[in-house]
């Protein structure tokens, strides 16, 4: 296509031939054409469903019988007053905290260990990413079996040492812990590798001079490693948050035979599961659409909070390099 862009410069003063006009339009408009596929696709599978879902949420809409009457924001009002929605939001955040906090701490420790001079480095690094390769469905089935109340391995071992069995699938907190375990098992190694990559980029001579100054291993970790990987850590937190708010497969398959998705008392029904139940079991498409929008707004809100926090942290940390960059860019102009 290089020949076509060459044609764009029209000779000054003379009337443009059709050929020249085409050439000029080519330069002016083709870039939009080249980026169009993304935006058309985004419009079709992103923006349109979002808008359509909003329209659905303003109607009484039965899954099978289709749209009913226009009821404005009644679905939103009904859902915001529904204890089952708040139950699902509380469950989502509880499972998110139970998984994200220990997961990131453990990932940090694993990364720090892998950052040492180990024998067979690649072997250890490959090993921590292994759980991530297994599909979530398989993970959920295996863990669901482990956490079985009567025949599960974990309860068998507890009873073996004379403890009472834990009702993983009936009680709330044990259920959340079990699901958080699945999430942690899958994601800890993944996050550890990302943190490890950040740690490897920390210049070794800083450690050396700190060691010469008499700083111990703990001191070096908290005063050099942790501050140096802060931007990466923020990235890991943000991705973990987004993933945590959309958790579906693990609670859905934890008790796959349950007639209510997310446990018979909805004790670990997350918001996405609640939405699914509303749409496909209870058949109320209007309310399901309203839930989808409420969840969307919650995620946007958390995204904004994340953005503000991370900007503040990043700017307080890198004020001087930023200024230097500004100065050099001015100099170039």
């Amino acid at each position: 296509m290089s020949t076509m862009t060459g044609r764009a410069v029209a000779p000054g003063g003379t009337r443009l031939t059709l050929r020249q006009k085409l050439g000029r339009w080519d330069v002016r408009y083709s870039p939009y054409l080249y980026v169009a596929p993304f935006f058309i696709l985004f419009g079709l599978v992103g923006l349109f469903p979002l808008a359509y879902t909003f329209v659905v949420s303003l109607n009484k809409w039965d899954l099978l019988r289709g749209p009913g009457e226009w009821i404005g924001f009644d679905n939103f009002a009904a859902e915001l007053a529904d204890p089952l929605l708040w139950n699902s939001i509380a469950n989502t955040f509880s499972i998110f905290l139970l998984s994200a906090v220990p997961q990131l701490i453990v990932a940090l420790i694993i990364a720090a260990v892998l950052d040492q001079n180990l024998r067979a480095k690649t072997f250890w690094r490959m090993s921590v990413i292994l759980p991530y390769v297994v599909t979530p469905v398989a993970v959920a089935l295996i863990f669901s079996n482990l956490f079985g109340e009567k025949y599960g391995l974990i309860n068998n071992m507890l009873q073996g040492i004379g403890l009472d069995p834990v009702l993983w699938k009936t009680e709330t907190i044990p259920g959340h812990l079990a699901i958080a375990t699945m999430v942690n098992w899958r994601w800890t190694g993944y996050n550890a590798l990302i943190l490890l990559a950040a740690m490897q980029a920390v210049p070794r001579d800083i450690y050396e001079s700190a060691a010469i100054d008499g700083a111990g291993a703990m001191r070096r970790f908290f005063s050099i490693t942790v501050p140096s990987i802060r931007p990466t850590f923020i990235f890991v937190i943000i991705t973990a948050t987004i993933g945590g708010l959309q958790i579906f497969t693990e609670p859905k398959l934890f008790d796959a035979s349950s007639s209510i998705p997310g446990g018979v008392f909805r004790q670990y029904q997350t918001t996405v599961l609640y939405l699914w139940d509303m749409a496909f079991n209870r058949g109320n498409f209007g309310k399901a659409a309203a839930i989808a929008w409420i969840l969307f707004l919650i995620i946007v809100l958390i995204g904004v909070v994340n953005f503000v926090l991370s900007r503040r942290i990043a700017s307080s940390e890198s004020t001087r390099p930023a200024r230097r960059a500004l100065r050099s860019s001015r100099g170039q102009r």
Binding site: M1, G148, K150, T170, S257, I260, R282, G283
Partner: protein, 438 residues
């Protein structure tokens, strides 16, 4: 890359042509010629025993190709049907529909073909009358041909019975529980005796018992005229009290339904009786085998059911109006539900026929792998006897929601030790939340 204008024009034409090809490929000609080669799509679920029959039909009708899809569970099939029904697109020529969906299906019965237009009136005496009644919509249109029904008998473990000092022989067990006049009182009474003798549970969990109790009423969660019939329903409340008392007395093993510890609960003596509609016999056999057991595990099948005849489940074959080959699809559905085919399905999957003549066919009453597993119990004969007296209950639009989401949690509550009144009140709260004020 350097392209001449002509090449580009050529490419554009080619692209347009390709698009046009794709477009024509998608749209079938609406004028379906039933003599020409046609493809019929069939969607079934679980184990319906039809898979072996398609090849034979294709052989007899060389112009017809059958493309069959079997979805693993009824629940997933329901989601699949609902999604496609809601989209108005993608439904097969023949859609299998389960009894539990009827409440929702009848709400949109106009989107199913009235099979009377394709000869349903000529063959409608084939089925037991209540099965035909279930498939008839409020306007009198017949929208489905019955495949199987689910008359319930009692599965029991003869070895556990004998160890507890109860009779092990299936005729004596039927007699012990009251024979043709068997009641739930008697069932719980004998259960308490068994529990006193062994300290073990009588049934696996309360959900299936409650299911049977509700299903055998002439009116269940809805009245015949479609009104909600749960609150202040003295019959249901009385049965609930009995069920809660049974659970409190240790008769429920509080197993997780459809899991049973991978079948281990069936082989380790956790419980001695089990609610068994015809299709459940295959499930019991599968569970026992999954846990490494076989026919020697002691499970047997008795011709008795507490509280009278009960039906659980059973399916229909329907033709959605979106089908382009309605006549051919209706013919295939009629053939699949004819006597020889229903007998073959029973032999393949234990689905008890809804067609009267098939019920007494030697292929159903005779011996099979299933009869061998159940200690040579004449399974087909017993199911035929259990099918007499079944009433078709009206299923309202939210029937399955009430069964699963309103009473599901309360059933788990009484199995975990909550008293019956509290659990009933919790169910009524959920009823208001999920059904009344939806």
């Amino acid at each position: 890359m350097k392209l001449s204008r002509r090449t580009k024009a050529g490419a554009a034409v080619a692209a347009a042509a390709a698009l046009a090809l794709v477009a024509t490929g998608c749209s079938q000609s609406p004028a379906a010629d039933d003599d020409g080669p046609i493809t019929l799509t069939v969607t079934t679920f679980g184990t319906m025993g039809l898979d072996g029959l398609y090849a034979q039909y294709e052989k007899d009708h060389p112009n017809i190709t059958i493309k069959a899809t079997n979805i693993d569970t009824g629940g997933n099939a329901l989601t699949d049907w609902k999604t496609k029904q809601a989209a108005g697109n993608g439904l097969p020529d023949i859609q299998a529909v389960e009894e539990g969906w009827l409440g929702q299906v009848m709400g949109v019965s106009d989107s199913f073909v009235d099979l009377r237009d394709f000869g349903a009136n000529d063959i409608k005496d084939r089925w037991v009358p209540w099965k035909l009644g279930q498939a008839t919509d409020p306007k009198g249109r017949i929208i489905g041909y019955g495949t199987d029904i689910g008359p319930e008998g009692l599965c029991y473990n003869s070895k556990l019975f004998e160890a507890a000092g109860l009779p092990g022989d299936r005729a004596a067990v039927a007699e012990l529980l009251g024979g043709s006049g068997a009641t739930w009182e008697k069932f719980f009474e004998v259960g308490k005796q068994y529990h006193a003798a062994t300290g073990k549970a009588w049934y696996d969990q309360s959900g299936f018992v409650w299911n049977a109790m509700v299903n055998q009423q002439t009116e269940g969660y809805y009245t015949k005229s479609g009104e909600l019939n749960v609150k202040d329903n003295a019959t249901l409340q009385g049965l609930w009290a009995q069920l809660a008392d049974g659970a409190k007395s240790g008769l429920s093993s509080n197993q997780s339904q459809w899991d049973w510890g991978g079948g281990k609960a069936f082989t380790d003596g956790s419980f001695a009786t089990f609610m068994c509609p015809g299709w459940m016999l295959g499930v019991v056999k599968g569970q026992v085998e999954a846990a490494g057991g076989d026919g020697s595990s002691g499970w047997d099948f008795a011709d008795v059911f507490p509280g009278g005849a009960a039906n659980w489940g059973g399916s229909f074959l329907t033709v959605p109006t979106t089908s382009k080959h309605q006549k051919a699809a209706a013919e295939l559905a009629a053939w699949l539900t004819d006597v020889p085919q229903e007998v073959a399905a029973f032999q393949a999957a234990g689905t008890f026929p809804s067609v009267v003549k098939a019920q007494s066919d030697a292929g159903v009453t005779g011996s099979s792998d299933l009869t061998k597993f159940f200690n040579d119990a004449p399974v087909g004969q017993i199911l035929g006897s259990r099918a007499t007296g079944v009433v078709a209950q009206f299923k309202g639009p939210d029937d399955s929601i009430i069964q699963e989401q309103v009473f599901g949690p309360s059933v788990k509550e009484i199995d975990s030790g909550t008293d019956g009144t509290t659990a009933w009140n919790d169910a009524m709260k959920l009823l208001d939340q999920l059904v009344v004020n939806k």
